[in-house]
Amino acid sequence: MGQQIVNGVFLGSIYALFALGYTLVFGVLDILNLAHQAVFMLCAYFALLIVLHLHLPMFFAFPAAVLAGGLLGLGVERVAFRPLRGRADSNVSGLISSIALATVLEALALQIFGPDVERFPFGIVPDRTLHLGDAVVSELQVVIIAIALAMLLALTWVVRWTALGRRIRAVAESPAAARVLGVDVDRVIAASFFVSSALGGAAGVLFGLAFNNVSPDMGRTVELKGLAVIILGGMGSMPGAAIAGFALGLVEVFTVAKLGSSYRDAVAFGILFLVLVLRPRGLLGSRALREA
């Protein structure tokens, strides 16, 4: 039982980290960036390359990959979203163009890295285990949970208490008004994408480390689970995404333990559906649903 809680918290921390990026962009732009999972995947590969070819330890590879994620995010915004800014149906067309970009990136990864699953070399992270009661936790798992929480807190701090955060919130409220107040809206949007994708990249590296698995399609299932998380947490709410991420991790793990693994994914989508039908703004979402 204790072990399953550990499993759930661990899985949840990765979901939360991934969903944070999703929800940040949605909060600011009312847009779902479905290229997020491609950045997730590419950063995992990036870290892998640094470790394998430059022989640098994770201590360097991780921040490098996170930075790369942020830069990729800037690229995604520039290519897939900015050109569509003026259009009336920009939410839907943005969705579609981000899907397109994600497909292109996945194809590139497939061509360059091949379809096989790769793993980080053994020993790249310490693999000691700790015992909490009857549960086994690896050092790696503890570090991952800690990093996820740290990033969540850092993001909350940035949004609540920094100038950039204030500007982000202003643009999220109303881009037009923000512009009138002298905010460089383009820059703020770019910055949001940078942060969001950096988080996504971090989640990717941690996922790859956690489950010894880096492959071009690793983003696909996480992407769909991520959707369930942000809907449950409330679109645009960062604490919501975090709480919902952990909640989903725990619910999934206990579903497997009690009902068997067949229903694991059904739970995520079932929750998604119920929330959308009964309480579309999710747990902590406070924004009124905008028109499409």
Partner: protein, 377 residues
């Protein structure tokens, strides 16, 4: 109307592309075209890579050895992408454009069930070299033959050998429920355990897209089984072994055919030690055919696994069928030739076909020791 013009133009363009496909260089001797469809991309790519290397070696050796007199084998290799629709399309192309006399493959049983019927309908023999789903594949029709032993042929004997050595009374099962091969492996494991009187404490499933098995493994570990049986494809097999060990499960792990790849050892690292795998290929056999196969593969840069051994043997069987048919390489010749193959020396041992067109040769159990597969003696 704009619509039909566009479609017609596109079809015409494709027709031109098809007509300008390069034809093979003219040969002095007659050639028999041998098609091979393997998963070179997608989930089963690890197996496909081995199969590709093996058939290329085998075809070269048959041609150099001159055992087919003035006939030469010409290999036409295609990728099924581990995708049934692509597999069907590729089969159609090999049968109708390249006009092959026989097709080896596809890699996975799931694809075989989709694509083999088309070969049967178009009277082209197929020789399965890695499909292990029992009571299937060869049941599609009389043009479908099989070299690879089914899970039903390998697992029960592997299990009883393992039981002799380790003496387990209870077991837990973990399997992938969305692949024909892993599901079939599970069915065989379950019935073999029941027949042997081993108590099954728990069963968990996962999907081929899963990466995280902690929840399932924790649940099974909690039941304290004597042995954990896993039916999975190689990419997940590695993660399962690692995660099981990480969670503190120290008991023996036994895998199905999916574990039969050096990629498993590569992915699982230290966690692979002690894992048991039933195998259709006894790599430790001192039979000269086997040893020279291993040496030749290594000389080409590939450490062969069971998939390679089976694919290589598949070509040997095709060559023998041609010989038995009177050195004729037509589709029906090869099909009839298959039925005459008896005790053919292959890396797998002496090979014959069973009356139901499945393969027949002895099986073995392996254990991972020091990062390599060794036969459990």
């Amino acid at each position: 109307m704009r619509l039909s013009f566009r479609v017609a133009a596109a079809v015409a363009a494709t027709a031109l592309a098809g007509c300008t496909r390069s034809s093979p260089p003219p040969q002095a001797a007659a050639t028999v075209k041998v098609g091979a469809v393997f998963s070179l991309t997608g989930n089963a790519a690890a197996y496909g890579a081995q199969q590709k290397a093996a058939v290329q070696l085998a075809v070269d050796e048959v041609n150099k050895g001159g055992t087919l007199k003035n006939l030469a084998l010409e290999l036409v290799l295609e990728d099924d992408g581990t995708n049934p629709q692509q597999g069907i399309a590729v089969f159609d192309r090999l049968i109708n454009t390249n006009k092959v006399s026989v097709i080896l493959g596809p890699t996975l049983s799931t694809l075989a069930e989709a694509a083999d019927p088309r070969a049967q309908a178009q009277k082209t023999p197929v020789i399965a070299v890695s499909n292990t789903k029992p009571n299937a594949i060869t049941t599609i029709g009389d043009y479908i033959w099989r070299v690879s032993l089914t899970e039903a042929q390998v697992i029960p004997s592997a299990l009883s050998t393992a039981r002799e050595k380790l003496g387990f009374k209870t077991a837990a099962l973990l399997y992938g429920d969305d692949d024909a091969f892993t599901k079939a492996g599970f069915d065989v494991m379950k019935s073999a355990l029941e027949k042997a009187g081993v108590k099954i404490l728990g069963i968990q499933t996962f999907s081929t897209k899963d990466r995280d098995f902690d929840a399932q493994l924790t649940a099974l570990k909690g039941l304290k089984p004597d042995v954990l049986l896993v039916s999975a494809l190689v990419e997940q097999a590695g993660s399962i072994a690692v995660q099981a060990r990480q969670l503190g499960y120290a008991g023996p792990i036994m895998g199905g055919n999916g574990f039969n790849s050096t990629k498993f050892i590569q992915l699982a690292g230290p966690a692979a030690e002690g894992v048991l795998v039933g195998t259709a290929w006894n790599r430790a056999s001192n039979d000269p055919v086997n040893q020279s196969f291993i040496a030749a593969m290594k000389a080409r840069g590939t450490d062969p696994d069971q998939f390679a051994a089976q694919a290589y043997s598949g070509i040997l069987v095709v060559a023998e069928a041609i010989r038995q048919a009177g050195f004729k390489g037509g589709r029906d010749d090869i099909r009839d030739g298959f039925s005459k193959v008896k005790d053919l020396p292959t890396p797998l041992g002496r090979f014959s076909f069973l009356p139901n067109r499945d393969g027949d040769h002895p099986a073995a159990v392996q254990i991972v020791k020091g990062g390599r597969f060794e036969i459990l003696q």
